[in-house]
């Protein structure tokens, strides 16, 4: 009897250790950190990464005006089936923002979803996309954010139900969904490859336009086919060539102006995406259009 108890206890310990092992936060490896630290960062290039990455869309204050130098004070709410996530302050404020973060801290947050204290971030922060960015882009991005106005705002806590309050469990989710390769594979023209980088690594279009499986991971088999709106209102449209039926020019102009070919005007969560896309170069908007047309 006692033996059985010891055995069961041992199993539980093993399972616990296994869970602990599986869910441990894993940062960038030493070689990547060494490369990262040796880079020269350019805030001007970082501005391009910032707008392509859509940071202002989530991290500016709710209802903030379009601004060249947005205040990343946080506070916007994102309703999901797991609860409400609230974007934190990522302005360069030393105490309330990320002003004192080292470059490795920032890169581990952006590309591995790990905080400077070693906790997992929730994937409401789309680091599974940013994981595909270049180290140079991440260094440039941090240099640009350092030029933005600091804010001492403190965003409220996320409103989540147990067990989602337990950050360690995100490690399991990451083991499944973090570190995936590009979705669009094959022999790509330089333009489509640029579009793929913009769409899959930076602009995270799939976070809204691709449906999710029951664990909240993107269903890559239904890439960009449209999805229920996480906030519960209506559907986010599909943007595959079949679903959209738009020309390259139609797509590029929509991203610039928000005008559909019928001259309706983009709304909902797409409005902020368009405000950011309007700041890219025409060549980059064309590349995104070329990428969308290369799907299927």
């Amino acid at each position: 009897m006692q033996r059985v108890a010891v055995f069961v206890f041992g199993l539980a310990l093993l399972a616990g250790a296994g869970f602990w092992w599986l869910t441990r936060p894993q940062g960038l490896d030493d070689a990547d950190i060494a490369t990262l630290m040796a880079l020269d960062a350019d805030p001007e290039r970082g501005a391009g990464v910032f707008w392509a990455g859509g940071c202002a869309g989530c991290h500016s204050a709710p209802g903030a005006e379009d601004d060249d130098a947005p205040v990343l004070s946080g506070g916007q709410r994102f309703e999901t089936e797991f609860g409400v996530f609230i974007a934190p302050n990522i302005s360069p404020h030393p105490d309330h923002g990320i002003g004192t973060w080292g470059r490795a801290d920032f890169a581990n947050a952006m590309m591995r979803g790990i905080s400077p204290q070693g906790a997992h971030y929730y994937p409401a922060f789309p680091y599974t996309a940013y994981a595909l960015a270049d180290l140079q882009e991440i260094a440039d991005l941090q240099a640009f954010i350092a030029t933005l106005p600091p804010s001492d705002a403190v965003a409220p806590e996320h409103e989540l139900a147990f067990p989602f309050t337990f950050r360690r469990g995100i490690g399991l989710w990451k083991a499944r969904y973090l570190g995936e390769d590009w979705v669009l594979q094959g022999d790509l023209s330089p333009e489509v490859e640029r579009g793929r980088h913009l769409v899959e690594a930076l602009a995270h279009c799939a976070e809204c336009h691709t449906p999710r499986d029951s664990f909240g991971g993107l269903d890559r088999a239904a890439w960009m086919e449209g999805a229920p709106n996480p906030s519960g209102d209506g559907r986010i449209p599909g943007i595959t060539p079949g679903a959209l039926g738009w020309s390259r020019q139609d797509i590029a102009l929509y991203l610039e102006s928000g005008f559909t070919p019928e001259f309706d005007v983009a709304g909902g969560s797409m409005a902020a995406v368009v405000r950011a896309m309007a700041r890219l170069t025409p060549a980059d908007r064309d590349a995104i259009a070329a990428y969308l047309l290369a799907l299927e």
């Binding site: 209102d233 709304g267 409005a271 902020a272």
Partner: protein, 151 residues
């Protein structure tokens, strides 16, 4: 027994009234038709600004005049309470509109101002038209961002 039939009839009557209301609410139809006319005219100045259509001063001015007048249409009977997308089918108007009517009105006023600026310059050439169309589009987007649900 004599009471039953009228009661049943009145319940049925209510039910059909409800169904008619759900499919075609005249206020919802009117405001959607109004927005369709906005798009119809934006298509002219928007296509010119985007280079999809050659600039034509007369056509641009006509569309801009239309937008000026359309955006002055009184909204009084178009937004009755209870016509949000949480209460009825067939609309994308979000309940937040009625929670902050001042903000909604301010966004309509911003649209009127943008339409007025467009009207003032629409006939003055493409370089004058472009930024004014951009401004008008931004006024449409600002309201759709906050007040219109996804399809």
């Amino acid at each position: 027994m004599p009471f039953r039939t009228p009661l049943l009839a009145s319940i049925l009557g209510l039910a059909t009234a409800g169904a008619v209301l759900a499919d075609t609410n005249p206020a919802v139809d009117a405001r959607q038709a109004q927005f369709t006319l906005y798009a119809h005219n934006l298509a002219v100045v928007g296509s010119m600004a985007q280079g999809r259509m050659d600039y034509d001063a007369d056509a641009a001015q006509t569309a801009a005049d239309n937008l000026y007048h359309l955006t002055r249409h009184d909204q009084g009977r178009m937004w009755p309470e209870g016509t949000d997308n949480a209460s009825i089918e067939g609309t994308r108007a979000l309940p937040g509109i009625w929670e902050d009517l001042d903000d909604f009105t301010a966004k309509f006023v911003a649209l009127q101002e943008a339409a007025e600026s467009l009207q003032a310059v629409a006939g003055d050439g493409l370089d004058a038209l472009r930024p004014a169309v951009g401004q008008l589009g931004a006024a449409c987007a600002a309201c759709h961002d906050a007040n219109r649900a996804e399809r």
